[in-house]
């Protein structure tokens, strides 16, 4: 229980309160709104809230276990996200062994490097070594059909699903003078990023009129975007006490997280539309797949990490 510092407990208590409140609202909507056209939305909302309880419990548990817990959790999420991603690719028979390397060598290695705190190698394993390995291994396999497309889609999947996502537990490597365990910082990032998604959804459902990019994502509206970004930034500012930031810096950092998260959601939607699917998977009830839930994290985590590392480490 040495990992439980009081600030972490307060943050967990806040999440618990928020979950309880959402469940009550979900139940109330189910009980009082009788409009048949709203039923699908309400049952999806309740499925999402149910899934949030489970996801929060898993995340809290791994955070309490310590760095190993978080590394296993995010390593598994990278693995499953990459699986969802490659399922959508038009891979060819000759890609098989290169993909085997991506899943069973590069993915575990990336998280192992965080575990042994080897920052220098963590930062270049995928952008340098995997980047060069993938096309070389494909060339050895001997199939030149759509060669560049195949090589770059595999490289891109490794970058997004493994490299970018691994920046979340990589926060645990940071030694910030005068700040306790960086587990709180990881929780802060996840809270602001995920609440930004939730608030964009909530504002979008309540007020959403003007679509931002109807072809890419029919559910993203200007009202949802502005409301979500502002409320998540407000929450991130109010949580400055669990970070090494001053309130003003916390506001700026939260804004960066929410904007990056929005860019991530939009980008990952564009891929789904290109491949003609609604969701990446069906693992998380009401949400879709891992990649549907973590799309914003993939973009927010690396930027957040480097902001903190540049300004607060050393």
């Amino acid at each position: 229980m040495k990992n439980l510092d009081p600030q972490l407990v307060w943050a967990f208590a806040g999440v618990l309160g928020l979950l309880a409140l959402s469940s009550l609202i979900g139940l109330a909507l189910k009980a009082f709104i009788r409009k048949p056209e709203a039923q699908a939305t309400i049952s999806n909302l309740n499925a999402r809230i149910g899934a949030w309880w489970i996801m929060s419990a898993i995340f809290a548990l791994t955070l309490v276990i310590g760095p190993i817990g978080s590394l296993v959790l995010f390593g598994l999420m990278s693995f499953l996200a990459l699986r969802e991603y490659v399922t959508l690719l038009p891979t060819r028979r000759a890609d098989h062994r290169t993909l085997f390397w991506a899943f069973f060598i590069f993915t575990p290695l990336q998280y192992l490097l965080i575990g042994i705190q080897w920052y220098g190698m963590f930062a270049i394993l995928i952008p340098v070594f995997a980047f060069l390995f993938v096309p070389a291994r494909l060339a050895i396999a001997g199939d030149t059909e759509s060669f560049l497309e195949r090589a770059s889609t595999i490289q891109w999947g490794l970058m997004i699903c493994v490299y970018c996502l691994s920046y979340t537990p990589a926060l645990l490597m940071l030694q910030i003078p005068g700040y306790g365990r960086p587990a709180k910082l990881m929780l802060y990032l996840v809270l602001v990023d995920q609440l930004s998604d939730v608030m964009q959804y909530v504002w979008g459902k309540m007020l959403g009129r003007h679509k931002i990019a109807p072809v890419v994502s029919p559910n993203k509206t200007w009202e949802g975007f502005v409301g979500g970004v502002l409320s998540a930034t407000a929450i991130g500012t109010a949580l400055w006490w669990m970070t090494p930031f001053t309130p003003a810096v916390a506001a700026a950092v939260s804004l960066a997280i929410t904007l990056m998260g929005f860019a991530g959601g939009l980008t990952m939607s564009a891929i789904k539309r290109d491949r003609g699917v609604k969701d990446y998977g069906t693992l998380i009830k009401g949400h879709g797949g891992i990649l549907d839930r973590m799309d914003s994290m993939c973009f927010a985590a690396p930027v957040f990490f480097h902001i903190v590392r540049y300004f607060y480490v050393r």
Binding site: R83, R93, F103
Partner: protein, 211 residues
């Protein structure tokens, strides 16, 4: 028939590895005696199809598998004891690498015996594994079984992506999310000619590919 103690664990592991997403289109699991037939692209096929059936149906469903592949050692022990596979001899003819039952009548007898009065079967009517792009013409097994058991339910199940997880000739799997789509049952109509029936069954299966 009681399920093997390992059956549940193996079924769970198979579903996890294959990430299979099971859908019943215009149909639902039915405990009545059935022949499940599917496209064949990977050694994982029957394991995944078998694992995707509800436990009580699975316990009475026996896959039909090639004796030459499953006859030795641990493979055989699992095939016979856990899946209660019906092992059927096949003969490799030299031309085109085509595969046919060594003695179709004998194989048919094995299958009918294995079905008894209430067991179901899993059958791959193409006879051999394909590339995953095309479903080959069906062998006659489905027709002869239906002739012997009038009114026999035949349920098509289309398997997507298993050839990508473990393609022909590879021994290490790569994770992909696979999909199994079951469709409504069909039965042999009285006086339906063999060729027409086999075409109808194949089309019922192919229709599920992109639903």
């Amino acid at each position: 028939m009681k399920a093997h103690p390992l059956a549940g664990i193996i079924a769970g592991a198979a579903r996890l590895i294959s990430g299979v997403n099971v859908r019943w289109v215009d149909s639902e699991p039915d405990p009545r005696q059935t022949v499940y037939f599917a496209n064949h692209t990977s050694h994982l096929d029957f394991v995944v199809l078998w694992s995707s059936l509800p436990a009580e149906i699975r316990a009475r469903t026996r896959p039909v598998a090639a004796q030459d592949y499953w006859q030795k050692g641990l493979r055989r022990a699992i095939a016979v004891n856990v899946f209660r596979a019906v092992l059927v001899a096949r003969r490799h003819t030299v031309q085109e690498g085509e595969v046919a039952s060594a003695d179709p009548r004998q194989a048919m007898g094995h299958m009918l015996d294995a079905m008894g009065s209430d067991n179901s079967l899993i059958l791959f009517p193409e006879g051999t594994r394909g590339t995953g792009e095309e479903v080959a013409a069906f062998k006659s097994g489905l027709y002869y079984l239906s002739q012997q058991r009038p009114g026999l339910r035949l349920v098509p199940g289309y398997l997507n992506n298993l050839n990508r997880i473990l393609p022909k000739g590879e021994f290490l799997p790569v994770p992909f999310i696979s999909r199994l789509t079951f469709g409504p049952a069909l039965t042999l109509a009285p006086d339906e000619p063999k060729a027409a029936f086999l075409t109808r069954a194949r089309e019922a299966l192919c229709r599920l590919r992109s639903i």
